[in-house]
Symmetry: C2
Subunit: 304 residues, 2 copies
């Protein structure tokens, strides 16, 4: 491979980088065996653990937990029922379930989330997210969540876009939460952010958030279905890191798995990824070692 | 206005064309009073009656009706219940209600539609739409629905895109139906097509269409809410022609109303547009006379 410009400067030379660059180049080379018509060049990325740090919890979790704790402070009677009860008592089973995106825990959590922002406007919701992102610091690195975005993945976005791909994020996390940081942090427009979401109703000239979430979560089989609903196709390139990404990676032609094996520069863990770490290599997916394949981990330059 | 190139060649000089061109130019001129940050340049267009002929019925209606009639042919017992009963008896109240996109008629129709494609794959659904588009001819013009797309509106798409706008279609009609023709006919990617839609579930490695439609219809207040869900913002430019577009035009900064007043080159009617034809001028919306503002009506060149 001769390159005049290194398109993935934060990636070490090796089989993962090679596989990515080869696939992406072939995808836009008319006549090549791996050519993909431009309209079909849809790439989908998970967020938590694929684009930014998800340990000990995805950044959205403290945002949500803080809100629910504040609700209990205003109305102590809420502490008598779940999910408020489990949250204020710091029930480890519940909190662990949320961290691992286990359906039962997410389901319970969602009930509280529905109540928390019922009737709010998009502007007020966005402002709450912005305040959180501004003030919250990660325990291990003492950084903002937007500073814990993986630089190598941003370079991958650029590489894909340079070859005519449209890049989407499809995460089990809250669509509206991610949209607040998507444009400045990822360079991805709000409309390309797909995720679990409540309903917003247009009433009396304004949008208000509903308690109910009619659609399914963008987890597991919910990822391909959300992607299809939003884009009208399934992704040809997909990247994830957890078991809840397996279905999304199954439908893609090129599938990338981020392996968290770097205890110093990030975290080393397999929780929530037990299956994908087994089926990935079996299915020929490109396994990316954060320790060996990346020269650097976090986003470079000033905080957006 | 001095123009070296006429960006809207199928539009007659006049106040409508002038208003559009002025607004769009200002939107991308940094420092101008009407400047709009690029990320906010979201334009939304209704489809039936705004991008193509909707008389005597939106083209999707015969596609759906033919399907439901075929179902009754296979299973005559269906004729005992609605909507099959109203369809095979050609009940004028029901058919008129569908043509005018009246909620009660659409609701009833949807029940049959849900049954009709339950369990189908995206590929099979697309193929049925393609077959219909290929074979169906409009009564008045004896043309395909894709030949009855308004040339002036395609030029407007180009003008907007040349000024950094992202163009979305947001129609009460079926999202998945429109997506089949969107790319070749409008030059709009599938992911920028928003509309009423059933659920698709990922099961056993494939997507299947569900009977249920959990979300609301993209009609009336459903237009701003669908647009917000899909794009994370509300449109700054919006175009429509019917009363079900009023809410979408209300939220935009520049609102365009297509007035069907050309009995020879298209149709002359006010049905389903009684309110918008009154509130449009009151609210300073740009009213487009198909007869006076357009030099030509239908898409030029070969059928895509």
């Amino acid at each position: 491979m001769s390159q005049t410009v290194d398109e993935l400067p934060s990636w070490n030379e090796g089989s993962a980088k090679q596989a990515i660059v080869d696939f992406v180049r072939r995808s836009s080379s008319e006549g090549s065996a791996g050519f993909i018509p431009e309209r079909d060049r849809v790439a989908a990325f998970d967020n938590d653990g694929t684009l930014w740090v998800e340990q000990p919890m995805p950044p959205q979790a403290p945002f949500l937990l803080n809100k629910l704790v504040a609700m209990v402070r205003s109305d102590p009677s809420l502490a008598e029922r779940d999910p408020f009860k489990s949250i204020v008592s710091k029930d480890p089973e519940f909190l662990g379930g949320v961290a691992r995106q286990e359906p039962w825990a997410i389901e319970l959590f969602l009930r509280g989330i529905g109540e928390a922002w019922e009737g709010v406007s998009p502007e007020d919701y966005d402002a709450e997210v912005r305040d959180f992102v501004e003030s919250y610091r990660d325990d291990k690195f003492e950084k903002r969540c937007t500073e814990l975005v993986y630089q190598p993945m941003l370079e991958l976005f650029d590489l894909l876009r340079a070859h005519g791909w449209r890049v989407f994020v499809c995460s089990g996390g809250g669509r509206d939460f991610m949209r607040v940081i998507a444009e400045d942090t990822w360079g991805i427009m709000r409309e390309n952010v797909i995720g679990s979401a409540p309903e917003w109703t247009y009433r009396d000239g304004a949008l208000v958030r509903e308690n109910a979430m009619r659609g399914e979560l963008a987890l597991g089989p919910g990822k391909p279905s959300h992607l299809f609903a939003r884009t009208g196709r399934l992704p040809r390139f997909a990247a994830g890191n957890g078991d809840v990404d397996i279905e999304m990676l199954n439908v893609a032609e090129f599938s990338l798995v981020i392996v968290h094996d770097d205890p110093d520069r990030e975290h080393a863990y397999t929780a929530g990824a037990e299956q994908i770490l087994t089926v990935g290599p079996e299915r020929g997916w490109t396994m990316v070692s954060m320790q060996n394949d990346w020269t650097t981990t976090f986003i470079q330059g000033a905080t957006p």
